[in-house]
Symmetry: C2
């Protein structure tokens, strides 16, 4: 049976129901821990699932910040220091990553036991255990007037990852890294590869890439 929700059904639904339903619609999302530091040297670590590719040359990422949430420390730190890190989360520490979303008074690194590490004189902290770490500089900040969300564009400055997970073409094998995906606000998954598919051309069948 197919269930239909119209905009009127959605608008008049219970607030929590609407939040969970609408947050589910975008399917699987990457999960990143974002590391920042404030001017007093206090580090901060927060989970983000709204991280997306903006461009390869120059290499750019986008992160959407919801207004009035616990993530604001992260945003304040980025605007102040101009630097942040993104760290992939694996099944080994996804529960600690989830705990970073609580309203801690101290640094989330300290609170959750995730160890911080500083690399190549970069000011923002990385998560030591993470198998894929990205160091970014603030490249742009765009306010979405439609609902006061803020889009931060990060310029990628550094990438650190397990060498065995990068193949010669540049493609990174997420299953080798052990990266988790998130659905909705709080469900976590690992993945099972179906296939890599060849570049699509009209009238030609799609091939599976064995690499």
């Amino acid at each position: 049976m197919i269930k239909h929700f119209s905009i009127d059904d959605i608008s008049s639904a219970d607030k929590d129901f609407r939040r969970d339903l609408i947050n589910s619609l975008t399917g699987y999302k990457s999960l990143h821990l974002m590391g920042t530091i404030n001017k007093d040297g206090m580090s901060n670590l927060a989970p983000f699932s709204q991280v997306f590719h903006v461009g390869a040359n120059p290499p750019l990422l986008g992160i959407l910040f919801r207004p009035h949430t616990v993530e604001r420390h992260t945003l304040e730190n980025i605007l102040e220091s101009r630097f942040f890190t993104l760290n992939h989360v694996t099944s080994d520490f996804y529960k600690q990553a989830h705990q970073c979303s609580a309203r801690w008074q101290q640094s989330e690194f300290e609170a959750t036991g995730l160890e911080e590490i500083y690399l190549d004189a970069f000011i923002a902290p990385y998560v030591k255990i993470s198998p894929l770490k990205i160091g970014c500089i603030l490249a742009d900040k765009i306010e979405l007037s439609i609902n006061d969300t803020i889009l931060i564009i990060g310029g990628i400055q550094h990438v650190y990852l397990e060498e065995t997970a990068v193949n010669p073409s540049g493609f990174v094998n997420m299953e080798k890294l052990g990266t988790v995906a998130v659905t909705g606000l709080d469900e976590y998954h690992t993945a099972r590869r179906l296939a890599r598919l060849s570049y699509a051309k009209p009238g030609q069948p799609v091939r599976e890439i064995k690499e």
Copy 2:
């Protein structure tokens, strides 16, 4: 062994290597087929993996359009008609979804054999076989001056999904739907649930939600 790529390494890398590496960094992404129609009544269907949650009230999604790509028909159709659909892709038809990225002269529905369907007098076509269909109206268009990408904000007007996949709290079970995730440009995955985790609070252990 950890491999380090600095911005200089990335900038001087081979173009294809850089594209694959940078497109991999955002981890697992949702895969949606976007259905549109032009003023002559010709339908169009294109795969998108840059679809993200913007807000629940009003319900809003964002889709990032790269400049100068095959996706432009989709963008032109949205700007012209103001309506589009997003359709989750399952392992049953992900190869046809991938084929929609080829430069077809005819409608991708016709070219790939994916059947189109029109629901509730909505002008844009849905993918009949898709277990989660979203009908959107163009709500905003934002140009990211940093690299000429275009962010389209869609206002959610309709959601159709398998009733058994929505639980009473509003959360949608992606594994029940069979939705696939994509990594990089061309690798597809299904998922294996680790757990749903309770709302995080300082000093309290995270619980697994059994729902």
